[in-house]
Assembly symmetry: C2
Homo-oligomer: 134 residues x 2
DNA sequence: TAAAAATTTAATTATTTAAATATATAGTAT
DNA sequence: ATACTATATATTTAAATAATTAAATTTTTA
């Protein structure tokens, strides 16, 4: 999922995705529309492809690109699930930090990081909410 | 929206968000949990704050951080809207490129970029679909 | 040949990071 | 009160790393 965020964190790449709304485009068309050099566009297309956001189909000399709607929807589901893990869809208030009770906690004991890291490490994303609009 | 994608495109920052699930944390706790230097954490917290993904509240010496659930849900809505603009939730097939009819189109006329850029420039995002789970 | 696209290379630019410094707050001793 | 000390966080600076890009090269296809 992080590679998708990285792929989406660039305006040129977002513009390429917008270009592909409702239409397929040859790479040379995309080059003209975006206004970067051919190798730069090829690079961005590669990143979008690897992130699963676009499809490519070679037809003779030309490579045609389209949105990978399934891939994008899958990302949307994963994000939905991730936000659910953060309990962003619940109204529960955050538990107050222990530092509220004892402001010197940080100094006294160097806060065992393991406790926190345990919940971080595993990125087990299970699709459990809403199946997409369709 | 692009700044949110950039903010989310870093594993340390994603881990900070996960840490803040269900609990507020002081900056010193976050430093211990993530295991980066204090200035590095301060930098990441700033990026998350500017992206509207977290809140901060200063209480004496300590700054407490929590998830900005409203901000995150707002991002989710914007993303939903963006994907809708890409017609990711419809089943329509992409229109074939003009290059299919005339493979030399790219060479013949250098493809006027204006046509494509017109639809790119304006990023007018209107919340029109689903209001979030809640 | 020639055109379309990918890859490699090198230069530029942006991001990430730690070290050093600065600011703010709280406590303690004048 | 005022100064001194320590702690928590932010900011600045500089170094390392990663991302972006154009120029040159290569591959593929007509």
């Amino acid at each position: 999922m992080i590679n998708i965020f990285k792929a989406l964190g660039d305006s040129h790449r977002l513009n390429i995705l917008k270009l592909l709304t409702c239409q397929e485009m040859g790479a040379c068309e995309i080059i003209q529309a975006i206004g970067l050099s051919q190798p730069a566009i090829a690079h961005h297309l590669k990143i979008l492809k690897q992130a699963g956001l676009i499809n490519s189909e070679k037809e003779g000399k030309i490579v045609f690109y389209t949105l990978n709607k399934d891939g994008i929807r899958e990302f949307y589901k994963q994000l939905d699930c991730f936000l659910d893990e953060l309990s962003c869809f619940s109204c529960s208030l955050p538990k107050p930090s222990q530092l509220r009770q004892n402001p010197n906690l940080c100094t006294e004991m160097g806060f065992d990081p393991e406790v926190c890291e345990k919940m971080i490490d595993e990125e087990k994303i299970i699709i459990k909410r809403r199946g997409g609009k369709q």
